[in-house]
Homo-oligomer: 218 residues x 2
Protein backbone atom coordinates (compact mmCIF):
# COMPACT_ATOMS: atom_id res chain seq x y z
CA UNK A 1 0.00 0.00 0.00
CA UNK A 2 1.34 3.36 -0.96
CA UNK A 3 1.74 5.89 1.81
CA UNK A 4 -0.36 9.02 1.85
CA UNK A 5 1.17 11.84 -0.14
CA UNK A 6 3.64 14.10 1.57
CA UNK A 7 2.35 17.65 1.25
CA UNK A 8 3.37 20.79 3.05
CA UNK A 9 0.49 20.27 5.42
CA UNK A 10 1.19 16.69 6.38
CA UNK A 11 4.89 17.55 6.47
CA UNK A 12 4.34 19.67 9.53
CA UNK A 13 2.96 16.67 11.36
CA UNK A 14 5.93 14.55 10.39
CA UNK A 15 8.42 17.20 11.37
CA UNK A 16 10.98 15.24 13.34
CA UNK A 17 12.19 18.04 15.60
CA UNK A 18 9.76 18.92 18.36
CA UNK A 19 10.21 22.06 20.39
CA UNK A 20 8.49 22.46 23.72
CA UNK A 21 8.52 24.15 27.04
CA UNK A 22 7.93 20.92 28.96
CA UNK A 23 9.59 21.34 32.34
CA UNK A 24 9.38 17.64 33.29
CA UNK A 25 11.06 16.68 30.01
CA UNK A 26 13.73 19.33 30.57
CA UNK A 27 14.45 17.89 34.01
CA UNK A 28 14.76 14.34 32.67
CA UNK A 29 17.32 15.58 30.14
CA UNK A 30 19.24 17.56 32.77
CA UNK A 31 19.26 14.63 35.18
CA UNK A 32 20.54 12.20 32.55
CA UNK A 33 23.25 14.49 31.19
CA UNK A 34 26.60 15.07 32.83
CA UNK A 35 27.97 18.04 30.91
CA UNK A 36 26.47 21.49 30.38
CA UNK A 37 27.82 24.02 27.92
CA UNK A 38 27.71 27.34 29.69
CA UNK A 39 27.84 30.52 27.65
CA UNK A 40 28.50 34.08 28.67
CA UNK A 41 29.61 37.15 26.78
CA UNK A 42 32.19 39.81 27.47
CA UNK A 43 31.97 42.72 25.02
CA UNK A 44 30.25 40.64 22.32
CA UNK A 45 32.89 37.91 22.67
CA UNK A 46 31.09 34.69 23.54
CA UNK A 47 32.65 32.02 25.74
CA UNK A 48 31.25 28.49 25.85
CA UNK A 49 32.71 26.35 28.61
CA UNK A 50 31.89 22.69 29.26
CA UNK A 51 30.99 22.28 32.93
CA UNK A 52 29.75 19.65 35.26
CA UNK A 53 26.46 20.69 36.83
CA UNK A 54 23.62 19.48 39.03
CA UNK A 55 19.95 20.20 39.47
CA UNK A 56 18.53 20.99 42.88
CA UNK A 57 14.79 21.23 42.46
CA UNK A 58 14.11 24.20 40.21
CA UNK A 59 17.69 25.45 40.43
CA UNK A 60 20.67 24.64 38.25
CA UNK A 61 23.97 24.46 40.12
CA UNK A 62 27.39 25.20 38.63
CA UNK A 63 30.72 25.10 40.37
CA UNK A 64 34.41 25.45 39.82
CA UNK A 65 37.59 26.97 41.08
CA UNK A 66 37.09 30.27 42.85
CA UNK A 67 39.45 31.85 40.32
CA UNK A 68 37.41 30.75 37.27
CA UNK A 69 36.59 33.62 34.91
CA UNK A 70 33.28 32.09 33.94
CA UNK A 71 32.16 31.68 37.51
CA UNK A 72 33.30 35.16 38.44
CA UNK A 73 31.31 36.52 35.48
CA UNK A 74 28.28 34.49 36.45
CA UNK A 75 28.58 35.67 40.01
CA UNK A 76 28.51 39.26 38.79
CA UNK A 77 25.06 38.53 37.40
CA UNK A 78 25.97 38.38 33.71
CA UNK A 79 23.33 36.72 31.55
CA UNK A 80 24.10 33.03 31.09
CA UNK A 81 22.92 30.52 28.51
CA UNK A 82 23.24 26.94 29.70
CA UNK A 83 22.73 24.27 27.08
CA UNK A 84 22.59 20.53 27.72
CA UNK A 85 22.48 18.06 24.84
CA UNK A 86 22.11 14.29 24.71
CA UNK A 87 22.94 12.62 21.42
CA UNK A 88 20.56 9.76 20.69
CA UNK A 89 21.17 8.66 17.13
CA UNK A 90 22.48 9.05 13.62
CA UNK A 91 19.86 9.54 10.93
CA UNK A 92 20.86 8.26 7.49
CA UNK A 93 18.51 9.47 4.79
CA UNK A 94 18.52 8.73 1.08
CA UNK A 95 19.61 12.30 0.34
CA UNK A 96 22.42 14.37 1.81
CA UNK A 97 19.86 17.03 2.68
CA UNK A 98 17.82 14.88 5.07
CA UNK A 99 20.72 13.44 7.03
CA UNK A 100 20.40 14.38 10.66
CA UNK A 101 21.06 13.35 14.23
CA UNK A 102 18.61 12.45 16.96
CA UNK A 103 19.06 14.39 20.16
CA UNK A 104 17.38 15.90 23.19
CA UNK A 105 18.50 19.34 24.25
CA UNK A 106 17.62 21.97 26.82
CA UNK A 107 18.55 25.63 26.48
CA UNK A 108 18.21 27.68 29.67
CA UNK A 109 18.61 31.44 29.94
CA UNK A 110 19.04 33.32 33.15
CA UNK A 111 21.35 34.89 35.63
CA UNK A 112 22.99 33.14 38.52
CA UNK A 113 23.85 34.21 42.02
CA UNK A 114 26.73 32.93 44.04
CA UNK A 115 25.97 30.54 46.88
CA UNK A 116 27.88 32.00 49.77
CA UNK A 117 26.46 30.46 52.92
CA UNK A 118 28.11 27.32 54.26
CA UNK A 119 24.92 25.26 54.46
CA UNK A 120 24.00 26.13 50.89
CA UNK A 121 27.43 25.19 49.60
CA UNK A 122 27.43 22.01 51.65
CA UNK A 123 24.10 20.95 50.17
CA UNK A 124 25.22 21.89 46.66
CA UNK A 125 28.36 19.77 47.09
CA UNK A 126 26.18 16.76 47.83
CA UNK A 127 24.01 17.51 44.78
CA UNK A 128 27.06 17.54 42.50
CA UNK A 129 28.36 14.23 43.85
CA UNK A 130 24.95 12.60 43.70
CA UNK A 131 24.63 13.68 40.08
CA UNK A 132 27.66 11.49 39.29
CA UNK A 133 26.32 8.49 41.23
CA UNK A 134 23.08 8.76 43.21
CA UNK A 135 23.69 8.37 46.95
CA UNK A 136 27.44 8.74 46.61
CA UNK A 137 27.53 11.93 48.70
CA UNK A 138 26.79 9.89 51.84
CA UNK A 139 29.82 7.64 51.29
CA UNK A 140 32.49 10.14 50.34
CA UNK A 141 33.98 12.62 52.78
CA UNK A 142 32.01 15.90 52.77
CA UNK A 143 33.84 19.14 52.08
CA UNK A 144 35.91 21.01 54.64
CA UNK A 145 35.50 24.74 55.12
CA UNK A 146 38.78 25.21 53.27
CA UNK A 147 37.51 23.21 50.30
CA UNK A 148 34.25 25.14 50.28
CA UNK A 149 36.19 28.39 50.29
CA UNK A 150 38.21 27.21 47.28
CA UNK A 151 35.04 26.43 45.32
CA UNK A 152 32.78 29.01 43.77
CA UNK A 153 29.22 27.78 43.41
CA UNK A 154 26.52 29.41 41.35
CA UNK A 155 22.79 28.85 41.43
CA UNK A 156 20.62 29.73 38.44
CA UNK A 157 16.83 29.49 38.70
CA UNK A 158 15.45 27.19 36.01
CA UNK A 159 12.84 29.45 34.58
CA UNK A 160 13.27 30.61 30.99
CA UNK A 161 14.17 27.92 28.54
CA UNK A 162 13.14 25.49 25.88
CA UNK A 163 13.51 21.87 24.92
CA UNK A 164 14.10 20.33 21.53
CA UNK A 165 13.84 16.66 20.66
CA UNK A 166 14.50 14.91 17.39
CA UNK A 167 13.72 11.24 17.28
CA UNK A 168 12.97 8.46 14.84
CA UNK A 169 14.16 7.67 11.36
CA UNK A 170 14.84 9.74 8.29
CA UNK A 171 12.11 11.78 6.62
CA UNK A 172 12.90 11.28 2.97
CA UNK A 173 11.30 13.06 0.08
CA UNK A 174 8.84 10.89 -1.82
CA UNK A 175 10.87 11.07 -5.02
CA UNK A 176 13.94 9.73 -3.19
CA UNK A 177 12.45 6.35 -2.35
CA UNK A 178 13.79 5.22 -5.73
CA UNK A 179 17.36 6.13 -4.75
CA UNK A 180 19.28 2.85 -4.30
CA UNK A 181 20.62 3.76 -0.86
CA UNK A 182 20.06 2.04 2.49
CA UNK A 183 18.16 4.35 4.80
CA UNK A 184 17.48 4.19 8.51
CA UNK A 185 18.80 5.36 11.82
CA UNK A 186 21.37 4.16 14.32
CA UNK A 187 20.67 4.69 18.02
CA UNK A 188 23.68 5.85 20.03
CA UNK A 189 24.01 6.41 23.73
CA UNK A 190 26.44 6.78 26.54
CA UNK A 191 27.39 3.41 28.03
CA UNK A 192 29.46 2.77 31.14
CA UNK A 193 32.30 0.26 31.09
CA UNK A 194 33.66 -1.77 33.99
CA UNK A 195 34.72 0.50 36.87
CA UNK A 196 38.48 0.77 37.45
CA UNK A 197 39.34 0.80 41.16
CA UNK A 198 41.93 3.23 42.41
CA UNK A 199 45.13 1.21 43.11
CA UNK A 200 44.93 2.08 46.78
CA UNK A 201 41.24 1.41 47.30
CA UNK A 202 40.57 -1.31 49.89
CA UNK A 203 36.80 -1.09 50.06
CA UNK A 204 34.56 -3.43 48.07
CA UNK A 205 32.89 -1.86 45.06
CA UNK A 206 29.38 -0.68 46.05
CA UNK A 207 26.63 -2.47 44.16
CA UNK A 208 25.33 0.91 42.92
CA UNK A 209 28.62 1.23 41.04
CA UNK A 210 29.20 -2.37 39.93
CA UNK A 211 25.67 -2.47 38.53
CA UNK A 212 26.42 0.47 36.26
CA UNK A 213 28.91 -1.49 34.13
CA UNK A 214 27.80 -2.08 30.57
CA UNK A 215 24.54 -0.24 31.09
CA UNK A 216 23.27 2.87 29.45
CA UNK A 217 23.87 5.87 31.64
CA UNK A 218 20.42 7.28 32.36
Amino acid sequence: MNPLATTPRTRLHRKPVRGSYDRALAYRILDEALVAHVGFAVDQQPFVIPMFFARQGDTLLLHGAAASRLLASGARGLPLCVTVTLLDGLVLARSHFHHSVNYRSVVLMGTAHEIEDRDGKFAASAAFVDHVVPGRSREARPPTDKELAATRMLAMPIDEGSVKVREGGPIDDEEDFMVPCWSGHIPVGLVTSAPIPDPRTREPMPSAISEMAGRPRD
Copy 2:
Protein backbone atom coordinates in the same frame (compact mmCIF):
# COMPACT_ATOMS: atom_id res chain seq x y z
CA MET B 1 55.53 0.80 49.18
CA ASN B 2 54.29 4.21 50.16
CA PRO B 3 53.82 6.72 47.40
CA LEU B 4 55.97 9.80 47.25
CA ALA B 5 54.58 12.71 49.21
CA THR B 6 52.10 14.98 47.50
CA THR B 7 53.46 18.49 47.62
CA PRO B 8 52.43 21.58 45.70
CA ARG B 9 55.27 20.88 43.29
CA THR B 10 54.50 17.26 42.54
CA ARG B 11 50.82 18.13 42.45
CA LEU B 12 51.37 20.07 39.28
CA HIS B 13 52.71 16.97 37.60
CA ARG B 14 49.77 14.91 38.76
CA LYS B 15 47.25 17.52 37.75
CA PRO B 16 44.62 15.49 35.97
CA VAL B 17 43.45 18.22 33.61
CA ARG B 18 45.91 18.98 30.84
CA GLY B 19 45.51 22.04 28.69
CA SER B 20 47.23 22.29 25.35
CA TYR B 21 47.21 23.83 21.96
CA ASP B 22 47.79 20.53 20.16
CA ARG B 23 46.12 20.82 16.78
CA ALA B 24 46.29 17.10 15.98
CA LEU B 25 44.60 16.29 19.28
CA ALA B 26 41.97 18.95 18.63
CA TYR B 27 41.23 17.37 15.24
CA ARG B 28 40.88 13.88 16.72
CA ILE B 29 38.33 15.25 19.20
CA LEU B 30 36.45 17.15 16.49
CA ASP B 31 36.38 14.12 14.20
CA GLU B 32 35.08 11.81 16.91
CA ALA B 33 32.40 14.19 18.19
CA LEU B 34 29.05 14.76 16.52
CA VAL B 35 27.72 17.80 18.34
CA ALA B 36 29.27 21.24 18.74
CA HIS B 37 27.94 23.89 21.10
CA VAL B 38 28.09 27.13 19.20
CA GLY B 39 27.99 30.38 21.13
CA PHE B 40 27.38 33.91 19.97
CA ALA B 41 26.29 37.06 21.74
CA VAL B 42 23.74 39.72 20.95
CA ASP B 43 23.98 42.74 23.27
CA GLN B 44 25.69 40.73 26.03
CA GLN B 45 23.02 38.03 25.81
CA PRO B 46 24.78 34.76 25.07
CA PHE B 47 23.20 32.02 22.99
CA VAL B 48 24.57 28.48 23.00
CA ILE B 49 23.09 26.25 20.32
CA PRO B 50 23.86 22.55 19.81
CA MET B 51 24.74 21.98 16.17
CA PHE B 52 25.96 19.24 13.94
CA PHE B 53 29.25 20.19 12.31
CA ALA B 54 32.07 18.85 10.17
CA ARG B 55 35.74 19.53 9.71
CA GLN B 56 37.18 20.18 6.26
CA GLY B 57 40.93 20.40 6.66
CA ASP B 58 41.64 23.44 8.81
CA THR B 59 38.07 24.71 8.55
CA LEU B 60 35.08 24.03 10.76
CA LEU B 61 31.79 23.81 8.89
CA LEU B 62 28.37 24.63 10.34
CA HIS B 63 25.05 24.50 8.59
CA GLY B 64 21.37 24.92 9.14
CA ALA B 65 18.19 26.42 7.79
CA ALA B 66 18.73 29.65 5.89
CA ALA B 67 16.38 31.36 8.37
CA SER B 68 18.40 30.35 11.46
CA ARG B 69 19.24 33.29 13.70
CA LEU B 70 22.53 31.77 14.75
CA LEU B 71 23.67 31.21 11.21
CA ALA B 72 22.58 34.67 10.14
CA SER B 73 24.58 36.12 13.03
CA GLY B 74 27.59 34.02 12.16
CA ALA B 75 27.31 35.07 8.54
CA ARG B 76 27.42 38.70 9.63
CA GLY B 77 30.85 37.98 11.07
CA LEU B 78 29.95 37.99 14.76
CA PRO B 79 32.56 36.38 16.99
CA LEU B 80 31.76 32.73 17.58
CA CYS B 81 32.91 30.31 20.25
CA VAL B 82 32.55 26.69 19.20
CA THR B 83 33.03 24.12 21.93
CA VAL B 84 33.12 20.35 21.43
CA THR B 85 33.21 18.00 24.40
CA LEU B 86 33.53 14.23 24.67
CA LEU B 87 32.68 12.70 28.03
CA ASP B 88 35.04 9.85 28.87
CA GLY B 89 34.41 8.88 32.45
CA LEU B 90 33.12 9.44 35.95
CA VAL B 91 35.74 10.00 38.62
CA LEU B 92 34.74 8.87 42.10
CA ALA B 93 37.10 10.16 44.74
CA ARG B 94 37.09 9.56 48.49
CA SER B 95 36.05 13.18 49.07
CA HIS B 96 33.26 15.22 47.53
CA PHE B 97 35.85 17.80 46.56
CA HIS B 98 37.86 15.55 44.26
CA HIS B 99 34.94 14.05 42.37
CA SER B 100 35.24 14.85 38.71
CA VAL B 101 34.57 13.70 35.17
CA ASN B 102 37.02 12.66 32.49
CA TYR B 103 36.59 14.47 29.21
CA ARG B 104 38.28 15.84 26.13
CA SER B 105 37.20 19.26 24.93
CA VAL B 106 38.11 21.77 22.27
CA VAL B 107 37.22 25.46 22.47
CA LEU B 108 37.58 27.37 19.21
CA MET B 109 37.22 31.12 18.80
CA GLY B 110 36.81 32.88 15.52
CA THR B 111 34.53 34.38 12.98
CA ALA B 112 32.87 32.53 10.15
CA HIS B 113 32.03 33.47 6.62
CA GLU B 114 29.13 32.15 4.63
CA ILE B 115 29.87 29.64 1.89
CA GLU B 116 27.96 31.01 -1.05
CA ASP B 117 29.36 29.33 -4.14
CA ARG B 118 27.68 26.18 -5.39
CA ASP B 119 30.86 24.07 -5.48
CA GLY B 120 31.78 25.06 -1.96
CA LYS B 121 28.33 24.22 -0.62
CA PHE B 122 28.31 20.94 -2.55
CA ALA B 123 31.63 19.90 -1.02
CA ALA B 124 30.51 20.99 2.45
CA SER B 125 27.35 18.89 2.09
CA ALA B 126 29.51 15.83 1.49
CA ALA B 127 31.68 16.68 4.50
CA PHE B 128 28.62 16.83 6.77
CA VAL B 129 27.28 13.50 5.55
CA ASP B 130 30.68 11.82 5.76
CA HIS B 131 31.02 13.05 9.34
CA VAL B 132 27.96 10.92 10.21
CA VAL B 133 29.26 7.83 8.39
CA PRO B 134 32.52 7.99 6.40
CA GLY B 135 31.91 7.47 2.68
CA ARG B 136 28.16 7.89 3.02
CA SER B 137 28.11 10.99 0.78
CA ARG B 138 28.84 8.82 -2.26
CA GLU B 139 25.78 6.62 -1.64
CA ALA B 140 23.13 9.18 -0.80
CA ARG B 141 21.68 11.60 -3.33
CA PRO B 142 23.66 14.84 -3.45
CA PRO B 143 21.87 18.14 -2.87
CA THR B 144 19.83 19.93 -5.51
CA ASP B 145 20.27 23.63 -6.13
CA LYS B 146 16.99 24.21 -4.31
CA GLU B 147 18.24 22.31 -1.27
CA LEU B 148 21.52 24.20 -1.32
CA ALA B 149 19.61 27.48 -1.44
CA ALA B 150 17.58 26.42 1.62
CA THR B 151 20.73 25.68 3.61
CA ARG B 152 23.03 28.29 5.05
CA MET B 153 26.57 27.05 5.45
CA LEU B 154 29.28 28.72 7.46
CA ALA B 155 33.02 28.12 7.41
CA MET B 156 35.20 29.11 10.36
CA PRO B 157 38.99 28.82 10.13
CA ILE B 158 40.34 26.59 12.89
CA ASP B 159 42.98 28.90 14.24
CA GLU B 160 42.57 30.21 17.77
CA GLY B 161 41.63 27.61 20.33
CA SER B 162 42.63 25.29 23.09
CA VAL B 163 42.22 21.69 24.17
CA LYS B 164 41.59 20.30 27.62
CA VAL B 165 41.82 16.65 28.61
CA ARG B 166 41.14 15.06 31.97
CA GLU B 167 41.88 11.38 32.22
CA GLY B 168 42.61 8.70 34.77
CA GLY B 169 41.40 8.05 38.26
CA PRO B 170 40.77 10.27 41.24
CA ILE B 171 43.54 12.33 42.83
CA ASP B 172 42.74 12.00 46.49
CA ASP B 173 44.38 13.89 49.30
CA GLU B 174 46.82 11.78 51.26
CA GLU B 175 44.80 12.08 54.45
CA ASP B 176 41.71 10.70 52.71
CA PHE B 177 43.17 7.28 51.98
CA MET B 178 41.81 6.30 55.41
CA VAL B 179 38.25 7.21 54.41
CA PRO B 180 36.31 3.92 54.08
CA CYS B 181 34.94 4.70 50.63
CA TRP B 182 35.48 2.84 47.35
CA SER B 183 37.38 5.03 44.94
CA GLY B 184 38.05 4.73 41.25
CA HIS B 185 36.76 5.78 37.89
CA ILE B 186 34.16 4.51 35.46
CA PRO B 187 34.86 4.88 31.73
CA VAL B 188 31.87 6.00 29.68
CA GLY B 189 31.55 6.42 25.95
CA LEU B 190 29.12 6.70 23.12
CA VAL B 191 28.14 3.28 21.77
CA THR B 192 26.05 2.54 18.69
CA SER B 193 23.18 0.07 18.85
CA ALA B 194 21.80 -2.05 16.03
CA PRO B 195 20.77 0.10 13.05
CA ILE B 196 17.02 0.40 12.46
CA PRO B 197 16.18 0.28 8.76
CA ASP B 198 13.61 2.69 7.39
CA PRO B 199 10.40 0.67 6.78
CA ARG B 200 10.61 1.39 3.06
CA THR B 201 14.29 0.67 2.58
CA ARG B 202 14.93 -2.13 0.10
CA GLU B 203 18.70 -1.99 -0.07
CA PRO B 204 20.91 -4.26 2.02
CA MET B 205 22.60 -2.61 4.96
CA PRO B 206 26.11 -1.52 3.92
CA SER B 207 28.83 -3.24 5.89
CA ALA B 208 30.17 0.15 6.98
CA ILE B 209 26.89 0.60 8.85
CA SER B 210 26.26 -2.94 10.11
CA GLU B 211 29.78 -3.02 11.53
CA MET B 212 29.06 0.03 13.67
CA ALA B 213 26.55 -1.83 15.87
CA GLY B 214 27.68 -2.31 19.45
CA ARG B 215 30.93 -0.52 18.86
CA PRO B 216 32.24 2.64 20.36
CA ARG B 217 31.64 5.54 18.05
CA ASP B 218 35.09 6.88 17.21
